[in-house]
Amino acid sequence: MSEEMMEEGGVVKKFMYVNRKAPIGSIYALESLEVVLIGAAFEQDVCMVFLDDGIYQIVKGMDTNDVEMKNFSPTYRALEMYDVERLYVSKEAMEERGLTTDDLVVDVEVMDASQIADLMEEQDVILSF
C-alpha cells in the first residue's frame, strides 16, 4: 500500500488492532470493534489480529439471548463493507483451542507467531484491546 502513502487531505498510516480477549465476559471485544468501524472513515491502512482468546470473538453460532446481551457477532461480517479486509488469526491460538477456520464467521488468514511478529514490526500504530 506504499503507493497510497499520501491520501488527499492527509497521511495514511498502518493501523493494527490487536484483540486478545474473549468476547461477552468483558466488553473489550465489542468496544474494540466500535473503534475499527469508526476508524474506517479515516481511510487508513488497517488490519486486525486475533491472538489468544481473541479468536473466540469471531467464532460462529453465538446466541446471546439467554444472557440478555446484544449480539454483535454479525458486525464482524460487515467489516468488509468498511474496507477492513485484512484479518489475521494466530495459528497457535487456533490449535490450542481446537478451532479451524471453518469455525469462524469471517474469512481470515492464519499466521504463526513469527509471521505476526513480522507484521507487527511493519505497523505505525498498534491499538491493543
Partner: protein, 99 residues
Amino acid sequence: MLHTVNKSPFERNTLETCLQHAKDGSTILLIEDGVYAATEGTRFSDTIKKAMETKTVCALLPDLKARGMHEKVIEGIKLVDYAGFVDLVEQNERVQAWL
C-alpha cells in the same frame, strides 16, 4: 461444596488453582469465560476430563450459547441455566468464587 470459575483457562490460572483446592466430591460450575474450559478438543479438555473422575463439573448453558460453544461441550458435563445455578448454590453448603 460449590466452586465457581469465571475465567478462561487460557488467559488465567484460575481453573488450575480451583482444581488444586477442590476436594473430591465437590462441584465445579464453569460460568462466563470459564465455560471455554468445558469445550472439547482444547489444550484443557483432558484436565477437565480428569477432574470429572472425582468431581462434578457443570457449565452455565446461557454462557456457552452466548459464546457459540454449546455444540462443543465435553460429554458428561452437566449443563445448567440460571435457575440450575441457584439450585447448585442451595444444594451445597458453601460457595467459593474463584475470581
